[in-house]
Amino acid sequence: MRLPISTEKVRHCRQLAASIAQEVEAEISPLSTVSVERSLLRLVGIEGANQENVPLVNCFIDHIARQRALEDGALYWLGNAILATGESPQSIGERVGAGSLDLVRLPRQPRPAIEKLCRGIVQDTLATLLGKRQQRRKMEENLPRTPPPWLYVIVATGNIYDDIEQAKAAAEKGADAVAVIRSTAQSLLDYVPEGITTEGFGGTFATGANYRLMRGALDEASRQSNRYVRQVNYCSGLCMAEIAALGVLEGLDILVNDALYGILFRDLNMIRTMVDQHFSRYLLGLFDTIIVTGEDNLIKTIDAFEEYPIVLVSQFINEQLAKNAGMREERIGLGHAAELDPALEDSFLWELVQAQLVRQLFPRSPVKFMPPTRYKSGNIFFAHVLDTLFNLVSVWTEQAIVLLGMPTEAIHTPYVQDRYLSLESALHVRRAAGALGRELRFQPNGQGAARARQLLAKTEESLTRIAEEGLWNSLSSGAFSAIRRTRHGGRGYDGVFRKGQFYLNPFLDREVVRRARRGEEA
């Protein structure tokens, strides 16, 4: 059921996005952030918090930053300390956290020795984590596959133990992916809290401990349901890179990870966000984890009919930034949503066209399609009708990952029965309408085709303008959702630094990665 669109125009859009991303790349490559550095420490095994409950990785970074030694990066100072003391990363982290070790005053070791040591540590770390990832892929491959789309539901009780019970019920009734909603405003915290959440606000915290509990429950549910159930959580925010690292360590399958969302909707500094998204995506790319982007949020803030092209613009840019970070298209799940006003004449046709257009523009992307939320008002029965039509669009246009709408959207976080009713509807539509896309066609000169051409033309125009202005300036001038952000404004800019002469990050070293992949001993 293809829309007749100009492949030449699509190619041009991609070129424009590439040049936009290129400018970003040039600016961020000499930079790192406190969050990237903390993620490196987590990857090499530092975990836990000190007596004041400050995460050890924060203690470590704050400690070197206070002594103006941040520019050499976490691994340089860790490597130096290991050589000087002979202790493990965790033990060094604990001593720094307790205030009994001053990293900067330790005897300085030669840079080549530190580099050699760190490359070895990183290679071993990567080899272990890649091995674990491979085991997980095997588990997935050994379980029977379900037909697309994957049905994705959320749990959001605020108590990880209740979340687990509801997630297991959802898995039993057909969910392919379960996301635990993250506590409100975690995106603004410049640290990852520790421990298990039993009383969260609007969700649970993204923490290693919560991830581990849910992972165990979903693995058990996968075995019981004879179907692999994917674990989803949220990276976006000031700890984007760190949460990506936790996702890798704890075996998550999908992470919500958007390059622009934090800047636009959380007022995070744009440079900080770009550096963080780059490394977090690089890391997730290494472990072949799926990311899903947040254009669904963009749609909610604009006129979803008139201003729709900005969604496509954001998708082109997100795709290119992720590719620059080393991700392959098959793992870049671009976000998209059905948010048209149901009062609009032919709204179903327009949703179908928009959904199909996204599939065609990004054929390899496991697009994440989001349900209507904006025009749900409390009439749970009509909301269920809207969701069923949404399910029909998603199956018809062969979307890859579909977040199921809830009849009680706009009322409360889903009750256990809401999730069931949504799964029941989606399973029915998937069974009943799977062949539609192969059987029916758009009229080559119909309204749908005309709309698609018009959307693509406007997308090309906007991308051309952004490529001329540059992404930084476009974010300042309100090109996205009329939100204006300044280059050095917003949260987290003080956590950005220019890499110094001793800085090292062997995770970025192709040779180290290659050796780890081959399972060589360091």
Binding site: A185, L188, S377, I411
Partner: protein, 247 residues
């Protein structure tokens, strides 16, 4: 049909049939026992002629029930006491006209979603020019000057704005109400304005899908709006209240 005035009972398809539909889940696996439990709960709720018409297994030891029954409860329509008075809505032209020629000023409206709450959909629906439900937002009214502070604004920052600008109306949106997070925020803001001595100089309004207007008034707000509120409802109230204050 002619509306009964005094004796009102739920209506299914005949006057006074008392028909009620009900659904809920139980933390029990679906079984003969769980079905009886569901009916029993409906009975304890006071329903008669209970019919359990659907019982579904939700997985992992949960089950779901849809029931019908009848209730003998009867309400006296005339004895109902309303806290929210239904106010007549003005229109776009009337509102601008009243502000320009009767209040004789351009009104500054500052909007914010305060605390950790990041949900601005409701605030934007009221303030952004695009509006909601087919109505223009306040930005489109020439007589309103709108400052939309957006999401996650600390109450202190709202207070700061009231010091710097001649604010007439504060519009506070709160969506997240788990564990009464919104109440703490709203109370704190009202108290801070009170302490500052500027509370009486402005109209303090809150809104959100789960805001209980009675409670909002108790913690010191002038008005509260619930789900489905359109910009016109907010604009009408602002005009009326500001005019009332000057009289």
């Amino acid at each position: 049909m002619t509306e009964p005035q005094s004796s009102i009972r739920p209506y299914g398809d005949r006057l006074n049939d008392g028909a009620v539909q009900l659904s809920f889940s139980l933390p029990m696996s679906l079984s003969a026992r769980s079905r009886e439990a569901a009916k029993s709960i409906a009975g304890r709720l006071g329903l008669d002629r209970i019919r359990l018409i659907s019982a579904l297994d939700l997985g992992n030891g949960f089950s779901y029930y849809i029931l019908y029954g009848t209730t003998a409860v009867e309400i006296d329509g005339q004895a109902i006491h309303l806290t929210d008075v239904e106010r007549p809505l003005l229109d776009f032209w009337r509102i601008n006209h009243l502000l320009e020629f009767e209040l004789k000023k351009r009104v500054t409206v500052v909007g914010a979603t305060i605390g950790t709450d990041a949900h601005t959909v409701g605030l934007d629906a009221i303030l952004n020019a695009k509006g909601f439900g087919g109505e223009s937002g306040l930005e489109r009214y020439p007589q309103f000057r709108v400052v939309n502070l957006g999401a996650q604004v600390p109450p202190e920052e709202v207070l700061e704005i009231t010091r710097e600008e001649p604010v007439d109306v504060l519009l506070i949106s709160q969506v997240v109400t788990q564990r009464n997070a919104h109440l703490e925020n709203l109370t704190l803001l009202a108290e801070m304005l009170e302490a500052e001595g500027t509370r009486q100089d402005l109209l303090l309004i809150c809104g959100g899908p789960y805001i209980d207007s009675q409670v909002a008034l108790e913690v010191g707000f002038d008005a509260a709006f619930g789900p489905g509120t359109t910009p016109l409802a907010v604009a009408s109230l602002i005009v009326e209240e500001l005019l009332r204050k000057t009289r």
